[in-house]
Structures are given as C-alpha cells and as structure tokens.
C-alpha cells in the first residue's frame, strides 16, 4: 500500500467557544491543547463452568471527558475569568466548545462538545524555575463529541 499523503499537524487548528451554541467566538489565540478522552462503550462479562472464555454483552456509550489547556491571562473578559465564573456559579453554567484540527475551511472536520460543564478546574501552577507562559487546564464532561464537516 502506498504511503498516505494527508497527514497534518495542529498548526492551523481552530478552537471556538460559545455560551449558547449559536454565536461562536474564535479562541484559537488563547488555547494551547485539546485532549479528548476515550469514547468508551459499557460492557459486561461472565464466565460459565463450561468453556474457557467469557460471555460478553454490550451496553451504551459512556460520557466523554475532554481536557483543554489555555494560556493564563487576567483580563476581565479573558478566558480564565470567564470560565472560572461559569464553573463556580451555583450548579455550574453550561457552555459549548468546538474545534477543527485542520482549520475553518470548507471540507474540514469540526468536533463539537454540545452543552457541557466543567468537571475539573485548575488554577495556574507557578514555578520559579520555569520561564514558560502560565497555563491552565480544565476538563469538561459531555455526552458525545459530534463530528461535522465545514461548509460555507
């Protein structure tokens, strides 16, 4: 089989945030990393006295955790304050995230969380021996990641 030619890096990736799932804000200039957790399906198994392998049955797909990393800044409308306010609000406030690994061009895939809330929020780690920009990591839980294709 010939070697594939469509490989890509995340150099042109797009990340967008929305408070309502309708109007989206490009936050690619703040975000540093997106780590979608595994999409797993529940399953069960039992053994019987006869045979050497398990009897296996399958259930439904489990929720997915996605970890985002972004650059820490302290502006009043910057990502850090916006998201921390959503997280500490009573019951937590839902929001939406989506990203396109190849960028916002027709034909490229877009991955969307749907409505989700932060389930793990971290304050920035500070290290006197590091010269790196401070970053913050948080995790959201969502029922599914929907893949769609960009059109005009």
């Amino acid at each position: 089989m010939a070697q594939i030619t469509g490989a890509l890096s995340a150099v042109n990736a797009l990340v967008e945030y929305s408070a309502n799932g309708t109007s989206w804000t490009d936050v690619s200039g703040t975000y540093n990393k997106i780590s979608p957790g595994g999409s797993t399906r529940k399953y069960g198994f039992k053994y019987t006295f006869d045979g050497d392998t398990a009897i296996i049955t399958y259930g439904k797909r489990e929720p997915i955790e996605i970890t985002f990393t972004f650059i820490y800044t302290e502006g009043a409308s910057d990502v850090y304050k916006t998201l921390e306010d959503l997280h500490v609000a009573e019951d937590g406030t839902a929001f939406y995230m989506r990203w396109a690994p190849k960028g916002a061009t027709v034909g490229n895939f877009v991955y969307s969380t749907g409505s989700c809330k932060i389930v793990s929020w971290n304050r920035p780690e500070i290290d006197s021996e590091s010269a790196d920009p401070l970053v913050v990591e948080f995790t959201v839980a969502c029922s599914n990641i929907t893949r769609s294709t960009y059109t005009t």
Partner: protein, 66 residues
C-alpha cells in the same frame, strides 16, 4: 451556484449552525466541488431525477406484469 442535498452533518462557516442530512443547500461551485468529492453532499436535481426514473421504471414493470 447549485442546489445540493446534504449527506453528512455540516457546520456552516457563515452562521456557525449545523446543516442536517437531508436538507437542501445552495452552494458555490468551489465549496460544492470539495464537498462532492468527500461525499458530504449530492446534487439535489440529479437525485430527484434518479428517484423519478426509478418510479417510472417500477411503473413500467408493473404494466408489463399486468
């Protein structure tokens, strides 16, 4: 510009909203060419024609059988 039937779930760059499979969209030729190649859309007119042709053939068969 042409009309196309959506096959894959699409996200509109202009509105940011989903365009669901089965919907008819109007696209410029450049965008349509990319999405056609991916199989994300099919020409709306061609599909209607093929459906009509199928129905016509079925009717002809029924007539022959009778």
């Amino acid at each position: 510009m042409g009309k196309y039937k959506v096959i894959d779930l699409l996200t509109s760059l202009s509105t940011g909203q989903y365009v669901f499979p089965g919907e008819i969209v109007e696209l410029e030729d450049n965008a349509a060419a990319i999405l056609l190649e991916r199989g994300s859309i099919v020409p709306a007119v061609a599909e209607v024609k093929s459906t009509e042709t199928k129905k016509e053939k079925e009717k002809e068969k029924e007539k022959e059988e009778m």
